[in-house]
């Protein structure tokens, strides 16, 4: 039930979801065809300007990026250890720019808009007879909904360990995490059916 969406009226908020997704997809290709550091640095500056003017206080805006930024820095450091520095800088800039813009898109696009766009994009696939566009849209929306929930479940399970003075191990985290989220998933599936959201099935 959580989401990364933040309210606001910035340019990004006003842009249609489709435009944002198209730019994002284009960026995903363009950033990878160049290794020019100046171009990539400009891209980082531009995307940073976009992201940090969405209306979120700087601290909060930065806090959301921290985990992912950390992994990017780790990637770059490793790259630095084994590759020429130029390559490491390119990787760092590329990933940072992409992440900034993608974070901007997720922060300004509601799950509903995501679902609508993905559904529209998938519509042609229906002709294959294999899939329903509505289902693809719904599935993507559900993933966006589940990710923050999984992370907060993870926190809750860590707390349960702490409260009982137990050591945290991968299996003792993963097992309750899966069982609890599977239960949630079952309830959510029932709610979707009860509300008649997948009309072709119900």
């Amino acid at each position: 039930m959580q989401s990364l969406f933040i309210e606001g009226s910035s340019l990004m908020h006003r842009l249609s979801a489709r435009a944002k997704l198209l730019i994002l997809a284009a960026l995903g290709v363009l950033l990878f065809v160049t290794t020019n550091i100046a171009v990539l640095a400009t891209a980082v500056l531009l995307t940073a300007a976009v992201y940090f003017t969405l209306g979120l206080p700087f601290k909060a805006a930065f806090a959301r990026l921290k985990p992912i930024l950390l992994t990017i820095v780790v990637v770059a450091l490793f790259s630095l250890a084994f590759n020429p520095w130029h390559q490491a800088v390119v990787a760092l800039l590329r990933l940072t720019a992409l992440m900034l813009f993608a974070a901007g898109v997720t922060a300004t696009t509601t799950i509903t808009a995501f679902i609508d766009e993905v559904t529209a994009l998938a519509r042609p696939l229906e002709r294959t007879g294999l899939v329903r566009a509505d289902d693809i849209g719904l599935a993507v929306g559900l993933v966006v909904r589940f990710v923050p929930e999984i992370l907060s479940r993870y926190q809750a399970i860590r707390e349960a360990h702490a409260a009982r003075g137990l050591k945290v191990r991968p299996t003792t985290i993963l097992v309750p995490l899966l069982i609890l989220t599977l239960r949630d998933a079952d309830n959510i599936a029932a709610a979707i059916d009860a509300r008649g959201i997948r009309r072709h099935v119900i």
């Binding site: 309210e7 799950i111 509903t112 909904r145 059916d193 009860a194 509300r195 008649g196 959201i197 119900i202």
Partner: protein, 224 residues
Amino acid sequence: MNIRFESAEVRYGARVALLPLSLELTERRIGVIGLNGSGKTTFARLINGLTKPTGGRVIVNGRDTSEDKSVSTDVGFIFQSPQNQIILPIVRDDIAFGLKSRGFSKVEIDTRVDAVLRRFKAEHLADRRAHELSGGELQLAALCSVLATGPSILILDEPTNQLDLRNRGYVQGLVEDLTESAIVITHDLDLLSGYERVLVFHQGQLVADAAAAEAVRCYREIAA
């Protein structure tokens, strides 16, 4: 509303969740009580077709729930844990979500969302994130989402769970004011005071079907 159970039963493998049950429900308010695991939720899920009877039939407003999937449009369901029933994170989006799949136009959806929010004086919740709402607000949001699509029957499974005295009174008021028919499952016996018809389940069987006072007496005996 007209709900008819014709020897409807539910088994999960060897375990019987509901023994063959025949009855007719037409009252505007119906309460359902019973011990944990007595079959209350199973009974309710039969009514909107979420669970299909393994024997017998359930007929809702003339339609057999096993055959006619459109029953679920007539019957709204508020689940035991409402946080799992809100599918999209923003209240307004969640309300709109159910409407969209019914093929309403964008304008119509907006009108209906606004109407239901106004009806329950919940305009202030429209842009809130569901996971940040308090228990009472969450129930209210769930109610809006479910009623926006216009079911004529509403099932509430333990709507006052985890709520404090104030929110409990608040939800009770909401239910009283509903123009829809309502079936209320609860452990909170005060909620049912004044109900003309209350069903008591015990070990998968309907053991009493009476006005609130009488039904509660029967329930207390079972629980003792």
